[in-house]
């Protein structure tokens, strides 16, 4: 019995003898492999002789697209251009970058350059929100890499940056300020703009901050069509993130954009067809009921009023009459107000003031228009009946009042359920945004 026990013991000791094999699955340690990967990425970035085209789509790829040109070197320096504004498009800026192992191998633009302008939490830099900017990134992890295309994803806001290897021709175009051409589309100061390509006419509306263009046209059946697409600059023009399709005409972008300051027109080509963009006063199809709808909306909703913080926009300048400098005693301007059916037989139009403590609002003076005349071609014409209080004849309040009574009146464009833009019918460069 004991023999059996000993034999079992010996056999089990034999089988449990240790296995001294400790071979890692890879030839090198994780650190070494990581360092190698980082070095390979850097070599690839810096190795592109003509640099890289970059397209950055902000806010997890949901918002505006911005164009960049990057030229990396092996000494942690990068030179870039961007289509953010007319300076960043033409003057190359050098800053530093690193390829660093964060949670993933990451490309970090680690000193300030054009790419950071989009991320800047100071809203005065980029027109975004305070503390957030335009929801872009400057730290990206490598998502996928091939010889000519590198896809990166932002680490905070998830913005998507795609780098594609640039050709010599592209690099030359960028270095000659090619990205600036696309910015010309913002040069026309009228509210309505008309793009004509061959015999097709489109009204276009551009939101430079969101990088969006809205096309409005009348199709072959006489129906009004609208289509909104994102856009970004290319060398010499702009490309759309999704093409505009109107019957047989498909527009993927506008090329060879140039600005003619004398005639105030923009020349473009679409495919092989030449086109123009001009400022216009009357859109393709006027929403003829909009003015009456606007007026009635405030009456129907508790007989309240429409407000505007910035007043009239004139010739490309917000708050052109400087309402925001207006004071009355110790009270300062808060917003401009239009109150339909303020009293029997008349409306009210004037500034609202806020007291120094920020606790109470007051009306000090204003103008009393009668209910506007709604013309059959979709304009509202305002006529003054009298004034309330000491309405100043000059200054911001006087200029604003005079503008309202422009003889040809205003077109109204409904921009959302409770916002309207009121556009001068005699001069398309003048408009005002009403909020409810």
């Amino acid at each position: 019995m004991k023999k059996v026990f000993i034999i079992v013991l010996i056999i089990s000791a034999f089988f449990s003898a240790c296995k001294k094999e400790d071979k890692p699955a890879f030839d090198q340690s994780p650190d070494e492999r990581l360092t190698e990967t980082l070095a390979a990425y850097e070599t690839q970035l810096a190795g592109a002789q003509n640099g890289w085209n970059g397209l950055l789509i902000t806010d997890s790829g949901r918002a505006g697209t911005f164009s960049f040109y990057f030229k990396f070197n092996t000494g942690n320096r990068v030179i870039m251009l961007s289509d953010f504004d007319s300076l960043s498009a033409v003057s190359p800026k050098e800053s530093s970058y690193r390829i660093k192992a964060l949670q993933q191998p990451s490309l970090v633009f680690d000193t300030y350059s054009y790419i950071h302008v989009l991320s800047d939490p100071d809203e005065t830099v980029n027109g975004g929100d305070r503390g957030a900017g335009l929801l872009a990134d400057f730290e990206f992890y490598f998502d996928s890499v091939s010889t000519d295309v590198i896809k990166l994803v932002g680490r905070i806001n998830g913005s998507k940056l795609t780098l594609t290897r640039a050709s010599q021709a592209e690099a030359d175009l960028y270095n000659n300020g090619g990205l600036a051409a696309g910015l010309n589309i913002n040069k026309i100061l009228t509210y309505f703009k008309r793009l004509t390509i061959g015999s097709e006419k489109y009204d276009i509306q551009i939101n430079p901050l969101k990088r969006q263009i809205t096309f409005t046209w009348i199709d072959a059946n006489g129906t009004l069509q609208t289509f909104t697409t994102g856009y970004y600059s290319t060398a010499g023009g702009i490309s759309f993130t999704s093409p505009v399709v109107n019957g047989s005409q498909t527009i993927t972008g506008l090329n060879n954009i140039s600005w003619n300051a004398t005639s105030q027109t923009i020349n473009v080509t679409v495919g092989s067809i030449a086109g123009t963009i001009i400022g216009i006063d009357t859109p393709l199809r006027v929403d003829v009921n909009a003015p009456a709808r606007w007026w009635q909306f405030a009456v129907d909703n508790g007989n309240t009023f429409w407000i505007s913080f910035k007043g009239f926009h004139v010739n490309g300048v917000d708050d052109a009459y400087n309402l925001q400098s207006l004071v009355s005693g110790t009270e300062s301007y808060y917003f401009l107000l239009y109150w339909p059916a303020y009293a029997t037989g008349n409306d009210f139009f004037g500034p609202v003031f806020i007291n120094a403590g920020g606790t109470a609002l007051s009306l000090q003076y204003g103008s009393a228009p009668r209910k506007p005349t709604f013309t059959s071609d979709g304009r509202a014409i305002f006529v003054e009946l009298g004034t309330y209080g000491p309405q100043p004849p000059t200054g911001p309040a006087g200029l604003t009042r005079d503008q309202l009574y422009s003889a040809r009146g205003y077109y109204f464009v409904q921009t959302s359920a409770n916002t309207y833009d009121m556009v001068s019918a005699s001069d398309g460069k003048i408009w005002l945004t009403w909020e409810f």
Partner: protein, 305 residues
């Protein structure tokens, strides 16, 4: 029987002793690669920092973006500084903060208890209606925000209204340094005794005027004794004695505040705190505060006007 027991015991012992030894060579420890990406080709800025701060005072400056240094800001969006701001900023700091302390207390004093590490951030840190411009951690690290708006006399685009921005930077550094001095040698309790009941964590809802009427040098000084100390030291240095005298003399309301403080009491509190500042510097660090104050103010003025 006995022999067998011994045999089994021996067998176990042998099995035990021959149990395997899984030795792994450590490999070369001379070259641990790390995670990579923490070194770069040094440029003009790196050399300037090395020559003027690192080799002289053992102070490092991290101006390249590293979110890992900003633990308090993981939920905030910030951007790195502009390269062209770094040397002017650090040079101004040398002139208005390091040089006066070194001149008054000597190199050894400064090397001993200076913060060793600056982290620079380009934008301000926005937080619920306020803007954070600087923080200090553990007497070692100072984080400065809003570097991209830093402009002194002679820099492109400088206007006189920028002086506020620049003074904010010095205010921040002197404020944080006052904390570090306090952390090394505790400020005597007499400093905050007279105001002890007036400190409130709700300081954001106290107006500048209310804080002044209670005998505080700023709104933030109203928050707690240690901040009161840091604000007193930094504002005395950055704004100067003339400003302080004027500030104290401007407290001349009649009657009492809701806390029962009269104008004379508020003035006396500020004067008493001022006296503690002067004596603290003399007794603990052998620094003539008046001379330090004059030197720093002159250096700041030369950068601004």
């Amino acid at each position: 029987m006995k022999a067998k027991q011994i045999f089994i015991a021996l067998l176990s012992a042998i099995l035990f002793l021959t149990s395997c030894k899984k030795e792994d060579p450590l490999g070369s420890v001379d070259n641990i690669p790390g995670l990579g990406g923490d070194t770069w080709t040094p440029g003009a800025i790196d050399n300037w920092i090395s020559d003027n701060l690192t080799s002289t005072y053992n102070i490092g400056v991290k101006y390249k973006w590293d979110q890992g240094e900003l633990q308090a800001d993981f939920n905030r969006i910030l951007v790195p500084p502009k390269e062209e701001k770094i040397i002017p900023l650090m040079d101004a700091i040398v002139k208005a903060w390091i040089n006066p302390y070194v001149a008054e207390a000597g190199q050894m004093f400064f090397k001993n208890i200076s913060p060793k590490f600056f982290v620079l951030v380009g934008s301000p840190a926005f937080q619920q209606g306020a803007v954070k411009l600087g923080t200090a951690e553990g007497g070692r690290k100072v984080t400065l925000y809003d570097v991209n708006d830093f402009r002194t006399k002679g820099m492109p685009g400088y206007v006189l209204s920028d002086t506020e921005n620049v003074k904010q930077v010095f205010h921040t550094i002197h404020h944080e340094y006052a904390h570090i001095l306090d952390q090394n040698i505790k400020v005597p309790i007499e400093f905050s005794q007279s105001s002890a009941s007036a400190y409130t964590s709700d300081w954001l809802n106290v107006t500048e005027q209310e804080a002044r009427n209670e005998g505080f040098i700023s709104q933030y000084a109203n928050s707690q004794a240690s901040e009161d100390w840091a604000e007193m030291v930094s504002l005395l240095i950055v704004e100067g004695q003339a400003w302080f005298d004027q500030y104290v003399n401007s407290i001349n309301y009649t009657g009492t505040t809701p806390n029962g403080t009269t104008a004379a009491m508020a003035q006396a509190r500020l004067r008493q705190k001022e006296a503690v500042v002067v004596s603290y510097f003399k007794q603990n660090w052998n620094i003539d505060f008046r001379s330090l104050q004059a030197r720093s103010k002159a250096a700041i003025n030369s950068l601004l006007y």
